[in-house]
Amino acid sequence: MASEVHVETLAVREQFDTASQQKNASTLGMWVFLITEIMFFGGMFLAYTAYRSWYPNVFGAASRTLNATIGAINTAVLLCSSYTMVLAVRAGQLGRRKTIMLFLVLTIILGFVFLGIKGYEWWEKFEEHHVPGASFHLEGTPLQGQAQLFFSLYFAMTGLHALHMVVGVGIMSYLLYQTYVGKYTAEYYTPIDVGGLYWHFVDIIWIYLFPLLYLIDRHGPKP
């Protein structure tokens, strides 16, 4: 039996000596996790890079069929959600429970708006026969296989991103509940901080996806 008495609190769990040690560990843990996420998405970015450099014209033509206006609106929605997330973290620092909850709710709403718009876009693809599979067809190119490859990557990459958004909304809802029951104070709000890191990361992935998928070659001939 340990002779030292470790009174475990949320801010200092039993394996840690001080609150700042625990906070450093949690933050570093999230950063390392985000690095693994970069490598995870990296495999798809590699496939994208390889195929786009092999088939630049088909990728350009396929990209032009995407709705850049909707994509831009969604980008704006996500940027706003990152802003509300920052404000939630700030409120956490100050220990203002109600303010944290307000900004978490806003972040969640914006997350749902993004997912709703994304869902609408995917539905459009079904209507236009741009979903890879037997009924796939892209006007104006004989290279249907390569065009389909673009849309495979489009669905895989935006799908994986959307999955991360869903997880993010789940995390935010958990944080909201924990704030509601009064777990977080100005001394201990690490989960909000760390959850924020995750949210911004998912945001940044989209910042890369948007130009790579929507804005490759806007000014080429319409297919």
């Binding site: 039996m1 340990a2 002779s3 030292e4 470790h6 039993e14 394996q15 840690f16 000596d17 040690q21 450093n24 560990a25 570093l28 843990g29 390392v32 996790f33 690095i35 693994t36 996420e37 490598m39 995870f40 998405f41 990296g42 495999g43 798809m44 590699l46 496939a47 390889a50 195929y51 092999w54 088939y55 890879p132 599979g133 290279l143 296989g145 390569q146 389909q148 490859l149 495979s152 990557l153 669905f155 895989a156 994986l160």
Partner: protein, 529 residues
């Protein structure tokens, strides 16, 4: 450690020591499953004709042997058991930084393993452990998806273990435990964690893409749609070459500990050995193309990858030379763990040198996909990693359980394993050089003598593996009581009772000496303030 009993106290434990033991039981189970497949393979190869199993069944046997041994035994082996148990203790911490994530990693390994076992029971997989496309995505009629899913899930177990170790080593070191006082076991596991964290996600996404390709035919690896099957090989080996170092680096860490303790000297060139681990981790990411020499990669790329592969031999050689230098004028004792350490150095050196053969473009074209390659990586994986794992297990067994293993039986089985191993795999170098291809269950008569030798060796090896399983269990009850520090070693893990209390140390230790400081302390308990 013995705070409470009962199945629940184990399944919900957050104690890194208990989780390590859960891992120990799990990977031992998988080792014997993989061993059964190996046994069937060796029996089939006794005769030139394919008489025991059909060629389809044979394909499944070597696939499942590879999948189980690589992803469910070798990858978790040393980090998840010995690393999990001893890294917090070696740095003077009460636990890992994230105990609940540690438990989650174990559950992920078990769930991933259940998927793999389901695939085996349902009918097996026949793609080889490498899952090369387009065979795995378009042609194989076996349980590729279940197996890929199992590997995907087990991959996250590996990622989370790595993440936990990195954060723990950065933030949980005891007062006075500077980076250059860390035992080399910690350094090598830290380097391993870097690979796990950077490489495994790429394997995970590759498995996702194989899954998508197989289910939805998205075309990413399908030439008919403009995709490229070789892209799979790039992604796969970007992980799987570094994965060799996930398997062997922790073993090198164990060997550094053993060599030092049993020659009662500090490891020669501590800084070089520590940094060579990191160098291996980094360089390991730059050489994956040596698996694609015959996959239509450009000659220029082949030359670059060949050159870089030679380069990665340097840090490995640094370790071997420094271990040898440590032995010089040491007072060496030949306890069982030290026998395994010697075995490791010898076999790893052979495995490493033959690695240089296959890293050379010209020779590789001759021996690629032959038994030469099989022998080469079994010398690294079994001769290296498994030797180190067993050596480490014997060395730390008294600390883990509080009991000594029977020294005589242990020495005997170490000897049996060494002889059996060489008898199994050395003939395979010759077989490969003579042109016997891998993954064939029937072969021409001239190879039979060497195959019979190899199977005989495998039987000896099997006895060597069963013995420790028996006497370790025996020692739990009848072994001599070990005491805190039976080897008179310097590490912090030896400065606390065996088995250790729930929070490892009565009081957080304060470190005032370098690792392996045998000159001043001569193995006495160093002051714990």
């Amino acid at each position: 450690m013995n705070a409470s009993y009962g199945i629940k106290s184990w399944l919900f434990t957050k104690d890194h020591k208990r989780i390590a033991l859960l891992y120990l039981a799990t990977i031992t189970f998988f080792f014997f499953i993989g061993g059964i497949f190996a046994t069937l393979i060796r029996i089939e190869l006794l005769t030139p004709k394919g008489d025991l199993v059909s060629s389809d069944t044979y394909n499944k046997l070597f696939t499942m042997h590879g999948v189980i041994m690589v992803f469910f035994f070798l990858i978790p082996s040393i980090p998840a058991t010995l690393g999990n148990f001893f890294i917090p203790m070696m740095i003077g911490a009460r636990d890992l930084a994230f105990p609940r994530i540690n438990l989650l990693s174990w559950y992920l390994l078990v769930i991933g393993g259940l998927f793999a076992i389901f695939a085996m029971v349902a009918g097996g997989v026949d793609t080889g452990w490498t899952f090369y496309t387009p065979y795995s995505t378009s042609y194989s009629n076996t349980w590729v998806i279940a197996t890929a899913l199992g590997i995907f899930i087990a991959g996250f177990s590996s990622i989370l273990t790595g993440l936990n170790f990195i954060v723990t080593v950065h933030t949980m070191r005891a007062p006075g435990m500077t980076w250059f006082r860390l035992p080399l076991m910690v350094w090598s596991n830290y380097a391993t964690s870097l690979i796990q964290v950077l490489g495994t996600p790429v394997l995970a996404i590759t498995m996702v893409l194989v899954f998508c390709e197989r289910t939805f035919h998205i075309g990413i690896f399908d030439p008919a749609l403009g995709g490229d099957p070789v892209l799979f090989q790039h992604l796969f080996w970007f992980y799987s070459h570094p994965a060799v170092y996930i398997m062997v680096l922790p073993g090198m860490g164990v060997i550094s500990e053993l060599i030092s303790v049993y020659s009662r000297k500090a490891v020669f060139g501590y800084g070089f050995v520590a940094f060579s681990s990191v160098a291996i981790a980094v360089l390991g990411f730059l050489v994956w193309g040596h698996h694609l020499f015959v996959s239509g990669q450009s000659l220029y790329a082949g030359m670059v990858f060949s050159f870089l592969s030679y380069f990665v031999a340097i840090p490995s050689a640094i370790k071997v030379f420094n271990w040898t230098a440590t032995l010089y004028k040491g007072s060496i004792s030949f306890a069982t763990p030290m026998l395994y350490a010697f075995g490791f150095i010898g076999l790893f050196t052979i495995g490493g040198l033959t690695g240089l053969f296959v890293a050379a473009l010209g020779i590789d074209v001759h021996v690629t996909d032959t038994y030469f390659v099989i022998a080469h990586f079994h010398y690294i994986m079994v001769g290296g990693t498994l030797m180190a794992y067993l050596g480490g297990l014997h060395y730390w067994w008294p600390k883990i359980t509080g009991r000594m293993y029977p020294e005589g039986w242990a020495k005997l089985s170490a000897l049996i394993i060494f002889l059996g191993f060489n008898l199994t795999f050395f003939p395979q170098f010759i077989l490969g050089y003579l042109g016997m291809p891998r993954r064939y269950h029937a072969y021409s008569d001239e190879f039979q003598v060497l195959h019979v030798l190899s199977t005989a060796g495998a039987s000896v090896l099997a006895v060597g593996y069963l013995l420790p399983a028996i006497y370790f269990v025996w020692s739990l009850r009848y072994g001599q009581v070990a005491g805190a520090n039976p080897w008179k070693a310097t590490g912090l893990e030896w400065q606390t009772p065996s088995p250790p209390p729930p929070h490892n140390f009565e009081e957080t230790p304060v470190v005032t000496h370098d690792a392996y400081d045998y000159s001043t302390t001569v193995g006495e308990v160093i002051e714990v303030g």
